[in-house]
Amino acid sequence: MSIDKPIFRFAVFLGCLLLASPWLPQWAMFMITIAGANGMVVLGLMLFLRAGLVSFGQALYFCVGAYATGLMTQMFKFTDIFVLLISAGVMSGVLAYILGFLLAKYRAIFFGLLSLAFSMILYGLLAKTEALGSTDGFNIPAITILGWLPPQPLVRVTILAVTFAVMLLCLTFVNGLLRSPRGLLLTAIRDNEIRTEYMGASAQRTIHLIYVIAGVLAGLGGALAAVAVGHIDPAMAFWTTSGEFIFITILGGIGSVLAPFLGSMVFGVIHTVAFANSPNTWQMMIGLALIAVILLLPDGLWSLVSRMKKARA
């Protein structure tokens, strides 16, 4: 698994962003953090989409990750960011592994809707657990890093830095995956599963694998979001949340592992612009944006980048 040029550049860019953070507006930093967290989930959805699958229930793992974090802080009073991230990753990973046995058998719309059912069941369960604040959820305390509690002015930067670190790690991993024969297989499955099986490869095992990976990514995203927002509630598992993630996936495109992050950044901008400029009709704005992207940029924003690349080459 070696670092590709684009990822290296991206890393450099994120580094500059961090250095520039003192001069960045605070709200922008927060939006970037959230975009990063969402991007993690979308990175997983991108893997699905490569294999021709769409999950309408990925919010399930987003929420599991967030609640794993929450429970760690509530029950065991852990606040160390790494402990939280790991537990989130493990929890969602394990769940994904189990559900994967069932879901890896499904394709097309059925895959999507069954995953939707599971996320809605989790929503129901959490909504009934009054110990965890039911639908009101609960707050996440300030995080520490290896025992160090960042002072108030540094909290945001620290969380941003952690987010970037996790992002880059996952980016490199997923990129490596896509560059490996296993990555090729995703497209193969989307294109012609029969042929793929007759080549001697198992579509089901591959889908199970990316299902777990996507689950872990979503879990980490959930943990980051929980830590950044400081509050979690069952709505994180609601189908509309999944819808938002799918929107971002389409927006960014599947052309590169960087596309999800481009997508979620732009989504953040669209969202807040719509909110601020038309508080009464922001849904319409977002709907129009979605349709516009599908009609004008069927391959997502990333297609613009690749076009630019071609233009240069």
Binding site: F10, G133, N139, V229, V269, N277, K309
Partner: protein, 428 residues
């Protein structure tokens, strides 16, 4: 290279959109910007969000004109004109928090007044503390906000939900001293669950012999309640309690009235006041109606209240409901506190800390009567609450045998969680 470019251009879009937004509301030097956050879409918009928005628009206009009766007759706030920045509360708590941060850090608002959903209140409170911004929660009910740790910048200008449930129970005691059993139907989410828990607890204290027949918990916004109504009717309860609101409440009334639920049981609608104006003709006589406080039709008689009702009704040709009252109360409280702080600061613009200090423990009178920031070391206002029963008089919906319960009867004293207070039989 290309990549960098895109990300830069992307950041560009972000910043430009931001600066453009910032310009959109470039603050005039002296002006005071208030962020108003309330549901403008979704089911909570029509009963709460929009009436509250209307109240905010009306009051801010009147404040700026200096047209509100004393003690609110200073122009704007302490002479400075008020500018309102309106945001929809809809969306996940993530987006709500994001938009809150944008309000404070990008729009540079001085105060935030808003939030109907308890979840959103819980999510925003710590951020308000982090950003040191006076934030007045105007409608959300959960007691947890000030019970889960001390706050310095977050306030709430009206009772929390405990008062509604306890008040309902007290009212039942006063009109039906010997209730044998009671049932309930509440939405299956935090508000519904807590309301039922508190009501159940209060009933157990006031009617030790009474039994619970059934506790229906339909999904939020389910809309179809016939099975539930059947269950309630076959349960033969003396009392049916519901904290339904919005479309759910209205649908429940529409579906249950023709089936005669109200003949067999006394139905308690803790938020009934929001629905009674539109459904006046539907709600049978003798239905117990609450307004989550001394608001709307249950507001005490006063010159200020008359002024308020008149102005609101003239403008929106519907009387203000309790959400409108709560918004108005919140705005009045911040205005008063700000002006107090400014005076103490001999006329100079006060800091958030000074405003907070001025508001802590302050008591003020609004159209809903006198409120006092008594709990949560002076951040949670308390007031009397009131319940009444419906009666048709010449085709006019009126509320009769209104009973008022002073704050100390319906709200826990400082330093004890409302749950425990109820469990201990309203004692510390």
């Amino acid at each position: 290279m290309v990549l960098k470019k895109t990300v830069y251009s992307l950041l560009g879009t972000l910043l430009t959109s931001a600066t453009f937004l910032a310009q959109a509301q470039a603050p005039a030097p002296a002006e005071i910007k208030i962020g108003v956050v309330t549901f403008l879409s979704g089911p909570a918009a029509s009963p709460f969000g929009v009436p509250a928005r209307n109240a905010a628009e009306l009051m801010i206009e009147k404040f700026n004109a200096g047209a509100v009766p004393a003690p609110y007759n200073q122009k704007g706030i302490g002479g400075a004109p008020i500018k309102m920045v309106l945001i929809d509360e809809s969306g996940t708590s993530t987006s709500v928090v994001t938009e809150y941060r944008n309000l404070v850090q990008r729009e540079k608002v001085d105060l935030v007044v808003g939030y109907i959903s308890s979840g959103n209140c819980l999510a925003v409170a710590p951020v308000a503390e982090e950003l040191k911004t006076i934030t007045m929660l105007f409608d959300c009910g959960t007691p947890r906000i000030f019970e889960e740790g001390k706050k310095d910048y977050v306030f709430r200008a009206s009772n929390h939900a405990t008062a509604d449930s306890v008040g309902a129970a007290l009212y039942l005691k006063s009109i039906k001293p010997n209730i044998k059993n009671y049932g309930g139907i509440n939405q299956n989410y935090a508000w519904g669950q807590d309301s039922w828990k508190d009501f159940d607890g209060a009933m157990k204290v006031l009617f030790p012999q009474s039994k619970v027949t059934t506790s229906q918990m339909p999904k939020l916004f389910a809309g179809q309640y016939n099975a539930e109504i059947s269950a309630l009717m076959s349960s033969k309860s003396d009392v049916v309690h519901t904290s339904f609101w919005s479309g759910d409440l209205e649908a429940f009334i529409l579906q249950s009235v023709p089936r005669g639920l109200y003949k067999s049981s006394t139905v308690v609608l803790t938020t009934g006041e929001t629905a009674m104006y539109r459904l006046a003709s539907k709600i049978p006589d003798g239905t117990v109606i609450g307004a989550r406080g001394p608001y709307g039709v249950l507001a005490p008689k006063s010159a200020l209240n008359d002024w308020y009702r008149e102005n609101f009704t003239d403008r929106y040709n519907t009387p203000p409901n309790y959400a409108a009252y709560q918004m108005t109360h919140s705005l009045m409280a911040v205005k008063l506190a700000w002006e107090k702080a400014q005076a103490a600061n001999n006329g100079a613009r006060p800091t958030a800390e000074q405003v907070a200090a001025a508001m802590r423990g302050m008591s003020y009178e609004g159209p809903g009567g006198v409120h006092k920031f008594a709990l949560g070391n002076g951040h949670q206002a308390v007031s009397e609450t009131a319940y009444g029963r419906t009666k048709m008089v010449k085709g006019q919906m009126t509320i009769v045998d209104v009973k008022r319960f002073p704050a100390e009867q319906v709200m826990p004293p400082e330093g004890i969680k409302s749950e425990d207070w109820i469990a201990k039989g309203f004692k510390k």
